[in-house]
């Protein structure tokens, strides 16, 4: 029997030891703070950037354009307290002189830049921007459509268009994202799922490594403190490994469930009403599937981490031995990050069925695109088979490794343990 009284005793100790530990409580609280912290920091950086004053001169030799620009650009909503636009009419032959005169102002940053609309703008829409840092994409995005509208108004002024026609001509196209689901529904889509997909892959990556490393340390502790010999006089190494893995995996599952409570509250209640752009189109089923997937992934990786821990008898050696495992977690994570921008790229599709890879990639894919249920089931079956195979191999390494002390074993020796 894989589960017996001894396994349960070990399991209980692991749960008690981990769940009530300071590090568990701290990490459980800290990770959400950290995640929100990143978001808040980004917002802070963006607003900080926004405080910088921008002083722009717009010059043209056409009086009407100048006055129109002056009207639109000095609207307080448009200037947002940081932009100052000064529209000037400069005769064609004085433009060069004007630029020359303001060169030092630009270099001393008294003027951020000069936008010059030559007369030819009415035929080719080419305008010039002079500045110390001329590739100011944010500025271009801000003024592009406004300047275009001024030019168009001027252009259509004597073309006998109705006001409605003119308004239509001035209006820009607007993208509205819709998601096509397997139920053939078409729903409006926000950014919410991209955030969830990112959240899923990050949490998987982060906690697999964190909890895995804890497991490894705990095995090394039992080995170096010689607890293992006392333990093995009471329980078999298989009992010990099973109890440890299950105890740690359940602790991890509880932690993950706590982290997902905000997502659960958002999708199942109306306590928080998110802006339309952030609406989450995932179901509670997706969340439960995610947790199940996480549990299987944890059991798989904890077996591997325990095996590596049993091979070495100090942290330094183990850190070196752990890199193949880290690769198994990191590569799928980077692929999962790629999914966030394009959920159906072919590498992601393939990786979501590859052992180990699917543990991180499939949930991320499922959160950001509609993945058929049978594909998710196949991925889970693959994960379960991987878990079983890893457990059998890990148990063999663990059994021999636990009592192996002294010099670091060669990988060829470890391979021999597998055969025994």
């Amino acid at each position: 029997m894989l589960i017996n009284r001894r396994v349960i005793t070990v399991f209980n100790r692991e749960i008690k030891d981990k769940l009530l530990s300071k590090s568990f409580i701290i990490m459980t609280l800290l990770v959400p703070v950290f995640l929100f912290g990143i978001l808040a920091f980004q917002t802070f950086v963006m607003t900080f950037e926004g405080k910088e004053k921008v002083n722009i001169h717009v010059i043209s030799s056409n009086d009407k354009i100048t006055s129109e620009i002056s009207n639109i650009f000095n609207d307080p909503k448009f200037t947002e307290d940081r932009y100052t636009f000064k529209a000037l009419t400069i005769p064609k032959d004085s433009v060069a002189k004007y630029l020359e005169a303001n060169k030092s102002n630009i270099l001393e940053e008294k003027i951020t830049g000069i936008i010059f609309l030559p007369d030819s703008v009415m035929s080719n829409k080419e305008i010039k921007y002079y500045s110390k840092n001329p590739n100011n994409l944010k500025l271009f995005d801000k003024v592009r459509s406004k300047i275009n509208n001024v030019i168009l108004s001027e252009y259509f002024k004597d073309k006998n268009l109705s006001k409605a026609q003119l308004e239509f001509a001035l209006k820009n196209v607007n993208f509205n994202p819709y998601r096509i689901t397997k139920e053939q529904d078409i729903r409006k889509e926000g950014y919410g799922n991209t955030v969830v997909a990112f959240l899923f892959s990050f949490l998987l990556y982060f906690s697999l490594i964190m909890i895995g490393t804890q497991m490894m340390r705990s095995v090394i502790e039992e080995k170096t403190n010689r607890i293992v010999e006392v333990l093995l006089s009471s329980v078999s190494s298989l009992d010990l490994l099973t109890g440890k893995i299950l105890g740690t995996a359940v602790t991890g599952l509880i932690q993950m469930a706590i982290w997902l409570i905000p997502v659960f509250v958002v999708i199942s209640t109306s306590i928080f009403v998110l802006p339309e752009d952030f609406i989450l189109s995932i179901s509670i089923g997706t969340l439960l599937a995610f947790l199940l997937n996480y549990f299987i992934g944890l059991v798989t990786f904890l077996g591997l981490f325990a095996a590596v821990g049993s091979i070495f008898d100090n942290d330094q050696d183990a850190q070196q031995g752990i890199w193949p495992l880290m690769m198994l977690i990191m590569i799928p994570f980077f692929i999962a990050m790629g999914i966030v921008s394009n959920p159906e790229n072919s590498i992601a599709r393939i990786t979501s069925f590859v052992p180990f890879g699917s543990i991180i990639v499939m949930p991320t894919r499922a959160a950001s695109a509609d993945v058929p249920v049978f594909q998710i089931i196949i991925a889970n079956i693959i994960n379960l088979i991987t878990m079983g195979a890893v457990f059998v191999l890990a148990a063999k390494i663990y059994k021999t490794g636990l009592l192996f002390t002294g010099k670091k074993p060669k990988w060829s020796e470890v391979a021999k343990w597998l055969k025994s």
Binding site: R5, R226, I227, V228, E229, V230, S233, S234, S236
Partner: protein, 306 residues
């Protein structure tokens, strides 16, 4: 009846034969001393008895059946290399190890407190193990070994790290367990303890069993041909005397092993003839220590000539 039978156990690590075809039986009601030098193969033998190592050859039988989990539950094992969870509290530690053996509940908790009182540790039951002194950690470790009231006790160097008072406490406990009918297997290199506590002895040297039997028999066997001598003068000539089997010299002390029993009169005559001043002459008695030294010593000489 032999409760525990060790049959033809062998174990190699690479080219090293750690245990080579070792067989012995542990009879009911015995305190069984497993003696030998460091690295002789005692711990490896014990680990195979505990099912921690799988033997290359041979088996361990409990009442005729191969040992398994059942034996593990009945055994209390104090390994030579001690280990406890450092961050765990003392009482939690005791209860955890008892629970692993299947002993749980109020009674075990009471027993744990009784043992803690006995070892003067009751006020430390809520302390973390790492906050205890090394000696106190040893005591906690010993309590974990006996708390579940095992039928078998396997103690690997139980006295190391204990002060004389606690050594006495432990010795008395072992005597008490012996009276209760527990079977105690004691591995030690302290011969006076082995001699005081054990009624059966097995000695392992370089993985091989070189001595096995009841302490009385062994001693009688050795004592009849044994003479312990304190003297002044040069007795190296004894090496060339026919009736002397072996001569172990240490300062002005000598252990003389004769080829036949009852030759002490002739030896004494010989010594007087050769003008040796005899200060002490003890025949027909031998300590386990002397047996050990002469056996282990013999072995290292033969190693030297190889």
């Amino acid at each position: 009846m032999a409760l525990l039978e060790i049959k033809n156990l062998s174990k190699s690590f690479g080219n090293l034969k750690a245990v080579d075809d070792v067989s012995f039986t542990v009879p009911e009601g015995s305190v069984f001393g497993l003696i030998g030098r460091n690295g002789a193969g005692k711990t490896t033998t014990i680990r195979m008895m505990m099912n921690i190592y799988l033997p290359d050859n041979g088996e361990v039988l409990l009442e005729g059946a191969k040992i398994g989990q059942d034996f593990r539950n009945k055994v209390g094992y104090l390994p030579e290399e001690r280990g406890l969870y450092k961050k765990m509290k003392v009482l939690d530690t005791l209860l955890y190890f008892a629970a692993l053996k299947g002993s749980e509940g109020k009674q075990i908790e009471k027993d744990a407190i009784t043992y803690l009182k006995m070892f003067n540790l009751e006020d430390r039951k809520g302390s973390k193990v790492e906050d205890l002194s090394k000696g106190n950690q040893q005591k906690v470790q010993f309590i974990t070994t006996v708390l579940h009231n095992p039928q078998f006790l396997i103690l690997d160097e139980p006295f190391s790290g204990l002060d004389p008072i606690n050594t006495d406490l432990l010795t008395n406990l072992i005597m008490k367990f012996k009276e209760e009918g527990k079977i105690i297997i004691l591995s030690t290199h302290l011969m006076d303890f082995a001699e005081r506590l054990c009624n059966h002895i097995a000695m392992i040297e370089k993985g091989k069993l070189i001595l096995n039997g009841s302490l009385n028999e062994i001693k009688a066997n050795w004592a009849a041909k044994n003479i312990t001598l304190e003297y002044s003068g040069d007795i190296s000539f004894l090496n060339n005397i026919d009736m002397v089997d072996n001569l172990t010299l240490n300062n002005n002390n000598a252990i003389i092993k004769m080829k036949q029993p009852n030759l002490e009169q002739e030896l004494l005559k010989l010594l007087v003839q050769n003008d040796i001043n005899v200060h002490k002459f003890i025949a027909n008695d031998i300590s386990l220590h002397e047996i050990f030294v002469s056996l282990a010593g013999e072995n290292s000489t033969s190693e030297g000539s190889n």
